[in-house]
Amino acid sequence: MTPILQTRDLTHTYGAGTPFESDAIQQVNLSFERGEFVGIIGHTGSGKSTLIQHLNGLLKPTGGDVLLDGRSIWSDKKFTRETRFRVGLVFQYPEYQLFEETVYQDIAFGPKNMGLKQDEIDQRVRRAASFVGIPEENLEKSPFELSGGQKRRVAIAGVIAMEPDVLILDEPTAGLDPVGREGILANIRAYQAAQNATVIMVSHSMEEIASNVSRLIVMNHGRVAMTGAPREVFTRSKELISMGLDIPQITQVFLRMRDMGLPVDTSVFTVEQALESLLTLRGGKGHA
């Protein structure tokens, strides 16, 4: 089966031919399968944002190509527009893009642009609202009356309502409290499971990445530096740190323990795994 989304030698140069010329991304070759949950990490300026804006055709590559279902998204204008709907992109702090009078209308903006029929729009809006946990009575409220976390949910629902095959989120939990964070992540997982959608999430929180994604892409200086399961990537902690990145705190604890001479497994990255690993170390005495 062809991957749903692919990049082929994707390169983007800003300000080509001027003294400000700089390569934002170079020779990026990635492919995303249906139903995958992929994380992208990289320090500020590593090209993450540029990369994701190529995936739905907001930016036109200066070199290489982006393929959706094996077809170039730039092959014709209609298909480029279709890509916008099939690859949903949620920007950072998406609540700042809300503009309609009611939550309902704001969520309906995307589906309306798709040219759907009224009853289809209505269904999608309600479905999207339920995915992100917006209660029915809030649909007729002004989005500006809601709390920060609620606004973010509305904004994410606005993209989910287009029912994209690929959902890309740029730091969806930035600036939220722990409960809000977990809430949003649960919403995203629910959407992924229900639609068998591909989710691509950019995040700075290694814990969030570790406990959600099945595959991890590390960007550095506009190139893909590593890719693999979180377990594999996080064992290369020295390289990650040299790229200005971090590893989950629990992994740091375990690495330190090994440096102190304890025979621990350092490929843990969630507290649950850590607990299990420590229990086996004690001789597998089970849950005491």
Partner: protein, 267 residues
């Protein structure tokens, strides 16, 4: 796209032009504009142009940058040129259909285009080489005498400073919002004029809201640092005229007098 706008932008540097006192530069711009409008002939235009060229070279601002900032005003410049070309009375050169191009028309058009471009470039040189803070400081100092007649000079200067400071921020914000709405299928490029105007609502509403939020945050931040207007406020960097400033100012006066004199003789 939007990022390419360089209007009112400051390009840091350490050239003689950058080092001049902002008051000197403000006065010079006024002198320059007066000179430009009193120039009446080829020779006086050449003198003004030479002065401008000297400043551009000294400031090390690239011609490409200047050309880029002219772009949004290109329409006005071309329109003015065309109007002058066709609507001047005098000796006809060519004529076709209802149009007649006269010798005077060609002259007028060339001079008008030159005048507007030089006006724009000259004033841009001020903002390119002076940081917004220095600029408003200079303006405040220059307008200080008006305080006697109760003009809120400090407040005006502060407002201008803030406005200048937020131009790039607003442009960046607009870009972001546009992208976010495009990702939801908003279309700004096709459709009738009415549809395109309507398509702006999803950009303008969030932009207004974020501007108010920003203004509010800025006001709180300023109050937290005990800002309470201009009374009794001292400065970290007092503006002091240097020898170079006096030399430049005298040079400016001589330049203006020269151009006016040349204009007087119709050169």
């Amino acid at each position: 796209m939007l990022k390419d706008i360089t209007l009112g932008q400051y390009f840091p540097g350490n050239t003689p032009v950058h080092r001049l006192d902002p008051r000197t530069k403000l006065i010079l711009v006024v002198v320059y504009i007066v000179a430009l409008f009193s120039a009446g002939g080829v020779v006086s235009y050449a003198v003004v142009l030479a002065a401008l060229a000297a400043v551009v070279v000294l400031s090390k601002i690239k011609l490409k940058v200047i050309a880029k900032s002219m772009k949004p005003l290109l329409f006005i410049i071309v329109l003015t040129g065309l109007l002058n070309l066709f609507y001047s009375q005098g000796t006809p050169l060519v004529s076709f259909w209802i149009f007649t191009i006269t010798r005077e028309g060609v002259f007028n058009a060339v001079f008008m285009i030159l005048r507007i471009s030089m006006l724009i470039t000259g004033t841009f040189m001020l903002t390119y080489t002076t940081s917004p803070i220095a600029l408003t400081d200079g303006l405040e100092k220059l307008l200080n005498p008006l305080k006697r007649i109760r003009v809120p000079v400090h407040e005006l200067a502060m407002m201008m400073c803030i406005a200048l400071r937020f131009i790039p921020t607003l442009i960046e914000e607009t870009d972001k919002i546009m992208n976010a709405q495009k990702a939801r299928g908003a279309d700004f490029e096709t459709g009738s004029l009415m549809q395109r105007a309507k398509a702006l609502i999803p950009i303008l509403v969030p932009l207004f809201i974020s501007s108010f939020r920003r203004a509010d945050e800025l006001a709180v931040a300023m109050e937290c640092r005990c800002y309470h207007g201009g009374d009794g406020r001292t400065r970290l960097k007092e503006l002091v005229y240097q020898t170079m400033d006096y030399v430049t100012l005298i040079g400016g006066v001589v330049f203006l007098a020269g151009v006016i004199a040349l204009g007087h003789f119709g050169l």
